[in-house]
Every structure is written in C-alpha cells, then in structure tokens.
C-alpha cells in the first residue's frame, strides 16, 4: 500500500483519469431530458473505470515492477507463495481504487448537480461486492502471465480498454453488436456491472440473482485457471531462469 500511495502514477489512476471520464460522461448525459438510468453511467462510470484500472494495472504491473526493481527473484524465493503476494497487492489496490469514486461523485454533485435519485442500497452493496470480487479474481488470474512472459506487458493496455467497453462500465452493453455482447458475457465484471446499474433505477424487471450467480460462477472458473497458471509460472520461470531479466 505504501508503494501505491507514493507512486506518481497513483494520482493518474485514481484522480485524473476517472475525473476526466466522469466529466465527459456527465457533460454528454446530464441534460434535463436524460433519463436517470443513463445518468447513473455518468456518475458511477468514471469511478468504475478508475477502480478497474487500479485493480487491474496494479495487479499486473506489480510483477513487472518487481522485475524492473530487481526484487522479483527475492519475492519468488520466499516461503510465501507468489499467489498470496499477488493477492495481497491486488487487495491493497482495490482498497486504493475505491478512492476513484470520490472525485467522480464530487464532480457530479458539485459540478453538474447530478445525483442518483433512486438507489437500492442492499442490492447495490451486494453487486458492488461481487464486482470487487470479480476484479480481484481477474487481476490475480492474469498476473502470472507477466511473471511468465515479458511480452505480456504490451498486452496490458489492450486488455484494460477491452474491459471498459465489453463490461459496460460507462454505457449499457445493449448498444454493442451481438458478437461483442457475447464476448462481454464471458467476463465476470459484466454481470456485476449490470447489477450495479440496475440497482440505481426502479425500472425493471431485473434478474439480480442470475447476474450475481453468473459473475461469481465465472470468477470461480477464472480461479481454477489461476491455480493452473500459478503452478505453470513456478515451473516455467524456474526452468528458464528469466526472473532476473528486465
């Protein structure tokens, strides 16, 4: 956490980028004629983008940062398994990522006088918790790739943007073509995001149960994959001897 706080990129991730996204969204969507469900995307979308970016980038970059600082070998050879170390880093990033909602909601309220008139607090809280779990699982699952293959780093930004679009952080996925909706349906955060936005409107019907189940189910599938990836990392990284290579 200490390294997150003092990182110069921290300000970019939790303050500047989410605020920019929120301002653009609010400018486009905060018209008197804009229906409340769409306004929710403007108010919460920037925060979700920042929340996701910190969890995902910090998780993936944490291994690359270890490699660049030359500490990857040191943390690899300790009794604590790598997945536990990554889990701790991503949990810390998720806590830090919650800060993204502060500037975005503040900008919405003070800058655009926009607020969510309706919110089902209970369903919102559960959906948000499941979303956080999905972010955690995705970040933990993808991180071993960066320990295993140095070329995985350039793919990092592509995956981040892909999630913004396919999971519907800032707009409903119904506007996407069918093939994109299908791809988004395979991502655990998509269903939790849908449930979050559904809990901010009283227009129904909503199938929270199915969405929660889909998100958690996909998270479990990713975890099974993660077990396999971490074992592969342990074996392949030690066989190739590339841990020390920047």
């Amino acid at each position: 956490m200490r390294l997150r706080v003092i990182s110069p990129f921290a300000m970019l991730a939790w303050l500047f980028f989410p605020t920019i996204f929120a301002v653009v969204g609010l400018y486009v969507l905060s018209r008197p004629s804009t229906a409340s469900p769409q306004l929710a995307y403007a108010i919460l979308g920037g925060g979700l983008v920042g929340y996701w970016a910190i969890a995902y980038l910090d998780g993936g970059l944490s291994i690359q940062n270890e490699r660049w600082s030359g500490t990857l070998e040191q943390i690899f050879a300790v009794p604590t398994p790598l997945w536990v170390i990554v889990l701790g880093k991503v949990c810390g990033s998720l806590l830090w990522g919650l800060l993204s909602f502060v500037p975005t909601i503040a900008v919405a309220y003070f800058g655009f006088h926009a607020f969510l008139p309706h919110i089902d607090a209970g369903r919102f809280a559960i959906s948000f918790a499941i979303l956080s779990l999905s972010f955690l699982v995705v970040a933990v699952t993808l991180t071993p790739l960066y320990a295993l293959w140095r070329w995985a780093l350039p793919m990092l930004n592509g995956f981040e943007m892909g999630f913004y679009i396919l999971c519907g952080f800032m707009f409903p996925v119904t506007v996407l073509p069918a093939w994109a909706r299908g791809a988004g349906g395979l991502l655990a955060p998509t269903w939790a995001t849908r449930a979050i936005y559904a809990s901010t409107t009283n227009q129904g019907p909503h199938d929270f149960g199915s969405w929660w189940f889909a998100s958690m189910g996909l998270s479990v599938v990713y975890l099974v994959g993660a077990v396999f990836l971490y074992r592969l990392v342990d074996r392949r990284a030690r066989a190739s001897g590339e841990l020390a290579l920047a």
């Binding site: 600082s69 030359g70 040191q74 050879a77 300790v78 009794p79 604590t80």
Partner: protein, 328 residues
C-alpha cells in the same frame, strides 16, 4: 560411536543448460551449458567459496541451491532437503544475498524493506521487530534506517541486502559476489562480518572472483570453469599446486602482441597475463623456474624499455589463473 555429520549442502551430477534464440527473422536456437555435471559437499558450519571467471556457472549453482532455478538433471540438497521437490522447506531455512543496486524497494525506507520481507518470511511481529532492530545495529545502518533506500550508498545497500538475507536467521546463507562494487574498507568490513557469521555456526556458500577474498576467509574453495569443477580443497592445498612454480612480473611501457605470443611459446611458461597500470603494462609470467626464464626474457624483451622486474612466490590468484588456463 558418533553419528556422521550430514552435509549442509550436497550436489550430485548437477547439470543445467540454457536455451536462447539468435536472429530476428531467421531464428536459431542456441544451447549454452551452465553446469556440466558438478559434485559438491559442504559441511555444516563451513565457509565455502566457489571461484570462477564470469560465465563459469557460479550464479547458476547458487540459483539452483536457492530454489530459483531448476536443474536439468542431477540432485541438489540443502540441509537434507531436495531443492526441487521440497522447495518451501528449503526456503524457510536459507537466506540469500545477490547484492547489487537492484533487489530492494528504493522508495521505501530500509526498515520498511526489512519489515516487508519479514512478513514474506512469515516471521511473527514479536520475532521480526527485535530482529530487525538487532540487524540494523549489527550491520551499521542505525540512524539511517528511516531513509529511503534510493539515497543509500552502495555499501549501505549491500548491508541492507545482508540484513534481508539474515532476517529468518537462516542455517545456510548464500552470498553471490557480496563485495563486488564496494570500496576496500566496506568490502573488508563485510568480509569480517561474513567470517563472524561462519564462526557463529552458519554454513556459508560464497561466490567470488576475488582470490584474496577467498584466501582470507574461506575454509574450503572450489574453482569452476565452463560449468565444471576444476579444483577443490583448502586455499593452502590449492596453492600447493603451484608450489614449485614462480611468478615474474615485468613492468614495461608497452609490448606488442608478437612478443607476447613469443613469450607464451616458451616451454617453461605456464601462463602470461597483461594488466594496465597508469602509463605502463605489467606482464605477469607464471613459470616453472623464474631463474631460467630471466635469460630468455632478456632476449624476447630486447629493445623494450623495462621499468621494473620482480620475482615473487605464487599466490592463490596465481594458482587460480593456472587452473583456469590449464583446464579445457
């Protein structure tokens, strides 16, 4: 009857080959031998030195023993535990120091670096707290422990590396070229510390290419070249390999490659090395009989301005150079 002491480190027929790729479009796979089948046995409490030139296999050996690298074949055991199949058990009982400018979190303070690694070694707070303070005092970091590591000097970083390596009070400590890059005073202080750790009962496996360092502190040494052990024994026994030899040092302004080649062709010459020293070159000739060499030296070096000529007894460095030169 006393129970035989098991080896603290035991290596049998250890092999490791690295694969790499050359070329951008026409890619060729290249195999490089890291270890060609080595055997070692180090007793508990021993300070063992592994010497060798760059690329000989020293770091490969250390990385296998510290569970960072998998061997292709052979066996390696630390404290009776297999480094491949009992990885976590080995990791709990060893410490390692690779040193260098990297390997620490520069934007954290020294004490926070140690606290983080203490957590990774699963040390309970009531153990890690006092131990961190003790190590900071012992390693001369007191007063600077709250400064960020990025402002530490090279020597301080090396001491912090050593503190990190000692956090879990390991029974076996691996040091990979621990004094490289340090000033003479800092290096000597570190060597004294390493010797004290060995005297306190820790088994220490040290790699270095500073011969005087191995000679000064190691109980036993092995010389490795091209992935194979070429000599093993106490510093005294290895020096005895060059006992009946001598060393002649000639300081000249400059010497041509042809004359050097002629010098090397002399039958009694074992090896010739040239080092630069300010505005001169020092030719070090290791030979069977310095007296007999002098006459022939005079002929070969005729016309060259000689600044200094001396003869001395061979050191461990001379024995090392001879071993490296003679082995394939």
């Amino acid at each position: 009857m006393a129970k035989p002491v098991a080896a603290a480190i035991e290596v049998t027929a250890l092999r490791k080959t690295y694969s790499s790729v050359r070329g951008t479009f026409r890619r060729t796979k290249v195999q490089t031998v890291g270890l060609a089948g080595i055997d070692l046995a180090i007793k508990p409490g021993e300070l063992f030195g592994l010497l060798g030139p760059n690329g000989a296999g020293k770091t490969t050996t250390v990385k296998i023993l510290t569970t960072l690298l998998l061997p292709d074949s052979g066996k390696a055991k630390v404290l009776g535990l297999d480094v491949v199949s009992q990885t976590n058990a080995v990791r709990r009982r060893i410490g390692f120091v690779f040193g260098g400018e990297r390997g620490l979190y520069g934007r954290l303070s020294g004490i926070n670096n140690l606290r983080y690694f203490a957590d990774l070694y699963r040390l309970p707070p009531d153990v890690s707290g006092p131990r961190i303070i003790e190590l900071i005092e012992k390693l001369g970091l007191a007063g600077r422990e709250h400064d960020k590591v990025e402002v530490y000097s090279r020597g301080m970083k090396q001491r912090l590396h050593l503190a990190r390596g000692l956090l879990n009070d390991p029974e076996v400590l691996f040091l990979d070229e621990p004094t490289i890059g340090l000033d003479p005073v800092g290096a000597r202080e570190l060597r004294v510390l390493v010797r004290e750790l060995a005297d306190a009962g820790k088994t220490i496996f040290l790699t270095t290419h500073y011969m005087f360092e191995a000679d000064a502190i190691c109980d036993r040494i092995a010389v490795i070249k091209n992935g194979a052990i070429v000599a093993e024994g106490t510093p005294a026994s290895i020096k005895r390999a060059v006992e009946n030899k001598g060393v002649v040092e000639v300081e000249v302004e400059a010497i041509s490659a042809d004359r050097l080649a002629e010098l090397r062709r002399l039958p009694e010459v074992t090896s010739v090395s040239v080092t630069e020293r300010e505005l001169a070159q020092v030719i070090t000739v290791r030979c069977a009989s310095p007296g007999e060499l002098m006459t022939q030296l005079g002929v070969i070096l005729d016309g060259i301005k000689l600044q200094k000529v001396s003869s001395r007894e061979p050191t461990l460095e001379d024995a090392y150079i001879q071993l490296i030169a003679e082995s394939p």
